[in-house]
């Protein structure tokens, strides 16, 4: 039942009227647009630009860590690179990519003509380049960019932060406003604009995961805004929220930050869960196994994500009862996450599988995200975390959930829907090359980090003891390979936009959903008359 039973009527009527008003001409099309497809494309282009910028910083980091000793950059600049790499990847690359996918696909999936609040949609996008212009400009300020890690722990980021910290805070505020408006838009669209007959439990999973993600965003982005505002007050207005010498508490910073930070990691992965739940059934030619349990699992993960934040703080000295609570709660997350993985595998089981690029990325997503989940489970064991905490084991863990998790999820989605966006098929050979080089590069870069962490290498250091040299060199080589490969993706997309084999309305024979009922490329206006879902 559920998604698979979805079909619609009246396609022909809808598209007969589409040619009345096309896009405006020139720059004003992009500056003033309220069209969800234009805004979606802008989000995706912005996200990829940031991905390359944040990636370039990762290349600087890996080049410095290629050998022991200081060769390329000094520690001050190294710390700016790790900080900016994290901030840009989280807030500039991953989050906007999913908002771009949401903009493009949510209205098409639920049979709506556009997002519910199109002007706000325009504004939420255009705030982002402003925020990142400010953030990136700190690199050129006196004293340099923020250098206290993307987690910006006080008092390193307050009393001891560089003068540019205030600009960083302003940038975070603007990003937060953008995210919150985007989330409101997603919720309003999904709750109000579904085609007649599409009940909640008939919604495609990408819609479900984004609905839940949007609630997470609305819940935690204000918390982030709160914590940076407290920093702003400490730095510029003489308060002492996080300054022990004035009666404040540096640990309070971490509690507030991670109350935002942990749901944030699910914000970066849940939409990928949704997308993969479309792609695996499509290329297995078999309905998704356990639709209902998938929905409940995402809901459970989202709820649990609010009560596990202190597992990032096992070594700060919280009382043992707190320690035990956060350990148990964190371990519990493995249950719904496991359900999702089992469901994906059960979907593939006894299917009729083909391995086009979206499927390759989706299968790699399941395997490698699960490995990241395993190391996450190990990190949840509080006593063992005393050894893992703040070592490269943690770096390996979160790169395994974010690179083959979030990023591979985004690549899988991009290849899956590129024919719908551009009207052309992408070059399958190049896309498979992109996949295999990314897959090998990524594992070469991040798997040895597990070993480094277990051998005792702390994270965020520009230079290291000699016993860590070999794996660091391997890791750097893998990172260079992964980084260079992403230029290939740019080439593939440009090629696909410019031309290629004409894509039919439904290029994947196993795909399901309303988005495949409109022609490829999707006309500028779709579903002016809502389709009917039975």
């Amino acid at each position: 039942m559920a998604v698979t039973g979805v079909f619609m009527s009246a396609v022909a009527d809808t598209h007969a009227q589409d040619h009345h008003h096309g896009p405006a001409k020139g720059l004003s099309r992009w500056l003033l647009t309220t069209n969800h497809k234009d805004i979606g494309s802008m989000y995706l282009i912005f996200s990829f630009t940031m991905f390359l910028l944040g990636g370039a910083m990762a290349m600087v980091i890996r080049a410095e860590l290629f050998q022991p000793g200081l060769q390329i950059v000094q520690p001050e600049f190294f710390n700016q690179m790790t900080t900016m790499h994290g901030l840009i990847m989280v807030f500039g690359a991953v989050m906007p990519a999913f908002v771009g996918l949401a903009n493009w696909m949510l209205p098409l999936m639920i049979g709506a003509p556009d997002m519910a609040l199109p002007r706000m949609n325009n504004w939420s996008f255009w705030l982002l380049p402003c925020a990142f212009l400010i953030l990136v400009s700190t690199l050129f300020m006196e004293g340099g960019a923020p250098n206290f890690g993307w987690t910006f722990y006080a008092p390193l980021s307050t009393t001891y932060g560089p003068p540019s910290t205030t600009f960083f805070i302003f940038a975070v505020h603007i990003m937060g406003v953008s995210s919150i408006m985007g989330a409101i838009n997603v919720i309003a669209t999904i709750l109000n604009m579904r085609a007649p007959g599409m009940t909640l439990m008939k919604m495609p999973l990408f819609v479900w995961t984004w609905l839940i993600t949007a609630f997470l965003l609305i819940a935690v982005m204000p918390v982030l805004a709160g914590v940076v505002t407290m920093m702003l007050m400490d730095i510029n207005f003489g308060t002492s929220f996080f300054d022990a010498s004035g009666g404040g508490d540096p640990v309070l910073f971490q509690h507030v930050f991670w109350f935002f930070g942990h749901p944030e990691v699910y914000i970066m992965i849940l939409p990928a869960f949704g997308a993969v739940s479309h792609i695996i059934p499509a290329f297995s030619r078999k309905p998704l196994f356990g639709y209902a349990s998938m929905v409940y699992a995402v809901g459970a993960i989202a709820l649990l994500s609010f009560v596990v934040w202190a597992h990032h703080m096992f070594t700060v000295g919280i009382p043992i009862v707190g320690q035990l609570f956060f350990m148990y709660a964190t371990m519990l997350i493995a249950v719904p996450t496991g359900v999702k993985v089992f469901n994906w595998v059960a979907t593939m089981f006894r299917g009729s599988l083909t391995f086009e690029a979206p499927m390759l990325f989706a299968v790699a997503f399941v395997i490698l995200f699960t490995i990241g989940g395993f190391s996450g489970l190990m990190l949840a064991i509080a006593p063992a975390d005393f050894q893992y905490h703040d070592t490269y084991f943690v770096v390996a863990h979160f790169h395994y959930v974010l690179v083959p998790g979030a990023i591979f999820g985004i690549f899988a989605s991009a290849y899956f829907w590129l024919p719908k966006w551009t009207g052309h098929m992408y070059d399958e050979t190049l896309a498979k090359t992109h996949f295999w080089l990314s897959f090998i590069g990524m594992n070469l870069a991040f798997f040895p980090m597990h070993f480094l962490g277990l051998a005792g290498m702390p994270r965020r250091i520009p230079d290291y003891a000699l016993q860590f040299a070999d794996f660091n060199m391997v890791s750097s080589i893998g990172a260079f390979m992964f980084g260079a490969t992403q230029l290939l993706f740019l080439l593939i997309v440009v090629k696909c936009v410019k031309g290629g084999k004409e894509a039919p309305a439904k290029p994947w024979d196993g795909a399901e959903g309303l988005e495949w009922t409109v022609p490829s490329p999707a006309p500028y206006h779709t579903f002016a008359t809502p389709p009917e879902v039975k």
């Binding site: 508490d249 349990s293 699960t370 050894q387 000699l466």
Partner: protein, 374 residues
């Protein structure tokens, strides 16, 4: 000539392939030398094998599907999409595994938190970028700085065996005794970690954290700061020497005596040359990380000391900054970090080095009086 060539070759080799002589492909955590670290190691191995087992089953089914259920092999898709029994089972079984894991984890954690009945108490204070160890029952303490030469870090010299993991004054503890650590920090958050002990705890300004260890095997154990604490976060190692009890007692007695001698030095009449010589050493350990060995600093965070107002004009202001620090900046209060002799020597050195030739000096006694006035 030949000797020179050999040395040059060795240096070049060391610079280009610093790692290969120490090649190390360690894959796993080591069990360490304490009860805690052994408990952690066995938890780590248990959970690792559980993950491997789950992985084998899940990926096994997946790879089977990938090989056997391919369209190109003529596979026809089945049409099932739910099975309540299976779904309940794969919710309950993982939950049961988690409960089994949680039991030993809880026991280990309770043990790690039991800091009672310690025999030696040491206060560990994190500074940017060094550790201070104070033996609170014995009334002495000292700083522990990185001792790897700058030339090795900058690749001008071959790297030594314990590159970045060596200090001037290691922490010394007796074997077979329960040692309690009280951790705090002076500036930002640091984290004190010795992997072999299974001990890691954050050192937080304004707070005191507790942890403990009992080491039975004498030896030298090395670790590092693990919480990002600024520019030289990667350069503040932890080195602990665990020694037999007699040796420990002798060492404590010697340290106490040395502390007494240091106090007496304040009374001595110092000449300019003596202060300059001592000042240069103290400057290189305490000040050079920020203000650079040549005094040029790294503005704006770390101001230059060459020809600037503070070090060439008002002496009282200079003493005040060094002793009390500048609040709201990275300049620490060195009043409690350095002895009166070192404070006087550093200030005298700064006022006369790098062409700052003021010709002025300040004596340890003056510093002593200045501190007592406050």
């Amino acid at each position: 000539m030949r000797v020179h060539a050999q040395r040059a070759g060795a240096l070049l080799g060391g610079l280009m392939f610093p790692a290969w002589s120490m090649a190390d492909w360690t894959l796993n955590m080591t069990p360490g030398v304490t009860g805690t670290s052994n408990d952690i190691f066995s938890l780590h191995m248990t959970i690792l094998w559980i993950c491997v087992a789950i992985g084998v089953v899940v990926f096994g089914v997946m790879f089977w599907s990938i090989f056997a259920h391919r369209k190109s092999q003529g596979a026809k898709p089945a049409n099932f999409h739910e099975n309540t029994m299976v779904e309940i089972l794969w919710t309950i079984i993982p939950f049961a595994i988690l409960v089994v894991m949680a039991i030993p984890a809880t026991a280990t954690l309770v043990d790690m938190y039991d800091t009672s009945e310690s025999e030696v108490d040491i206060k560990v204070t994190g500074y940017q970028w060094k550790w201070q160890y104070e033996y609170i029952n014995e009334d002495f303490g000292y700083f522990s700085n990185l001792s790897t030469p700058r030339e090795q870090i900058d690749n001008r010299q071959a790297k030594g065996e314990n590159y970045l993991l060596e200090v001037d004054n290691p922490l010394v503890i007796p074997v077979g005794k329960k040692v309690r650590f009280l951790l705090t920090a002076n500036d930002v958050i640091h984290s004190w970690w010795v992997p072999d002990f299974g001990v890691k705890k954050d050192a937080i300004p304004g707070f005191i954290n507790e942890t403990w260890t009992r080491v039975d095997k004498p030896g030298t154990y090395r670790g590092q700061c693990t919480e990002l604490c600024g520019k030289d976060h990667g350069f503040m190692p932890v080195v602990v020497e665990a020694v037999p009890e007699e040796e420990y007692n002798a060492w404590v007695a010697e340290k106490k005596e040395a502390a007494e001698r240091e106090r007496q030095l304040t009374e001595k009449d110092w000449t300019m040359a003596e202060l300059m010589e001592r000042g240069e050493k103290a400057y290189q350990t305490a000040c050079a990380a920020c203000h650079q060995p040549n005094g040029q600093g790294a503005p704006p965070a770390f101001p230059s000391l060459v020809g600037t107002q503070v070090v060439t004009e008002d002496m009282a202001a200079h003493i005040d900054i060094v002793v009390n620090g500048v609040s709201g900046s990275a300049m620490q209060a060195f009043g409690n970090q350095l002895s009166e002799v070192d404070l006087a020597a550093v200030i005298t050195y700064e006022r006369n080095a790098w062409g700052n030739n003021t010709g002025e000096m300040v004596t340890p006694k003056e510093i002593f009086d200045y501190k007592n006035q406050q």
